[in-house]
């Protein structure tokens, strides 16, 4: 059987952080998770803060990304994100601290909506990173 392989590319402003073939990719699209197999229809999708799962030969890689875009061409998917971190790279302790800090920030009384939104966003980011980091050993 002629195997179709999906090429995954993660581009951040600082570097191309990941470029590997894969069988199956799940991305956190704007309106819910989106699974991408080879021969997917070409599309342009906005991503939210979330987790990307790249499956290759039964092995799953987890990434935490902080919003961006995905361009899906025939057998190639390019993810543009401000940050993309692999599960192994995440410092779980630091993420946990960031989470606690952001959580404390959101609980402060009398916060203006802008700071509140910022704190909530960083809380969400930290949460995703924690979630991804916990899947490292699996």
């Amino acid at each position: 059987m002629a195997e179709k392989i999906l090429e995954v590319e993660m581009v951040t402003p600082e570097k191309i952080s990941f470029r590997e073939p894969a069988d199956f990719v799940v991305i956190p699209a704007f309106q819910g998770e989106l699974g991408v197999l080879p021969d997917h229809a070409p599309s342009l999708v906005q991503l939210k803060v979330g987790e990307v799962r790249v499956t290759k030969g039964g092995q799953v890689h987890h990434f935490a990304i902080s919003g961006g875009f995905a361009e899906i061409k025939k057998n190639k998917i390019s993810l543009f994100a401000e940050t993309a971190e692999m599960a192994d790279e995440i410092d779980a302790e630091r993420a946990r601290q960031a989470f606690e800090r952001a959580k404390a920030e959101t609980l402060k009384p009398g916060l203006d909506p802008l700071t509140m939104a910022g704190a909530e966003a960083s809380m969400r980011r930290a949460q995703i990173r924690l979630q991804v980091a916990s899947k490292r050993s699996r």
Binding site: V11, T12, P13, E14, K15, I16, A29, F30, Q31, L34, A41, P42, S43, L44, V45, Q46, G68, F69, E71, S78, F80, E82, T83
Partner: protein, 299 residues
């Protein structure tokens, strides 16, 4: 004529200056190499983002990328200037001196720009030298909206994000007419080019590559996508500008320190010469005295 001791002291001080300038040069050179690599690494992201923006704009603008008239109102503002509004200048200078004319060129250019403004304007400063310049500035109706210092020589995309956020906030809240970024571009190791870059409103995008984004599915709709993409596009540009400025600063410092080391070497050589000459003169004098004394005894 200075005494031997004085000359020796001077030589010592020139020597230590030379060592410092040499060390600074080497540090700047190493950092510059890294800064150049960062510019190259940032390129794919910026290029692809540019392509996507062009493709999307072309689809929304009914097949003419430059025609923003067909855009929904929220997008139009990115491309169209508010001629009544004030201007914003973003001056990107270094945190430190000792880099030749790097900072003074920037300051001269921005002064020229300010003199052309005929009403109030706003400023955002990046780098300590830029901040200090605006603090000292008198006689202009200028309000500094944001200051950013201590980001060089380790610029990351986070800095570009913060700066981009501030610029966009100012642009929309103050209803500005345009935003200009003044910075030094890295042309080559020996050359920096001063650039006044109009970042907002966005210049008409170039035509998309043929066949890009044809038959695509979009989630969400094209215009919503483009609206989310444009801030990122700007931030990617700002990131490139910061990286350029960083590499330019380092190369300017490298050249300045190279020249300083050469000068120190020259001074040291001439001091050494006069030291040796004087020592020789003293020895000759002593011999003459000795000979004279011996002759007096002999006679």
């Amino acid at each position: 004529m200075a005494s031997l001791r004085e000359i020796r002291r001077k030589i010592k001080s020139v020597k230590s200056t030379e060592q410092i300038t040499k060390a600074m040069k080497m540090v700047a050179a190493a950092r510059m190499r890294r800064a150049q690599q960062a510019i190259l690494a940032a390129r794919p992201f910026a290029v692809r983002l540019d392509e996507l923006c062009r493709g999307l704009a072309e689809r929304i603008g009914k097949n003419s990328a430059s025609d923003s008239a067909n855009f929904p109102a929220s997008l139009k503002r990115y491309f169209q200037s508010n001629s009544q509004g004030a201007s914003l200048i973003v001056l990107i200078a270094a945190d430190k001196g000792l880099c030749g004319a790097f900072n003074s060129n920037l300051i001269r250019a921005s002064l020229g720009w300010m003199q052309r403004q005929n009403h109030k304007f706003y400023a955002i400063t990046v780098g300590r030298k830029s901040r200090d310049f605006f603090k000292r500035l008198k006689g202009f109706d200028c309000e500094v909206l944001h200051e950013m210092t201590g980001i060089f020589p380790k610029v990351s995309f986070t800095h570009a994000e913060i700066l981009g956020q501030e610029i966009l906030k100012a642009y929309f809240e103050k209803n500005l007419s345009n935003v200009i970024v003044v910075y030094n571009e890295f042309k080559s190791v020996a050359q920096q080019k001063l650039v006044e870059f109009p970042i907002l409103p966005i210049a008409p995008l170039a035509k998309a590559l043929p066949g890009s984004l044809v038959d695509y599915e979009f989630e969400p709709k094209e215009d919503v996508l483009l609206e989310a993409l444009l801030p990122r596009y700007l931030k990617a540009q700002i990131y490139r500008i910061l990286l350029e400025s960083q590499a330019a600063e380092l190369s300017a410092r490298m050249n300045a320190m190279d020249a300083a080391s050469k000068n120190a070497k020259e001074i040291r050589a001439s001091l050494n010469l006069s030291l040796n000459r004087q020592r020789q003169a003293m020895i000759t004098k002593e011999i003459a005295e000795l000979v004279g004394g011996a002759e007096a005894l002999a006679s």
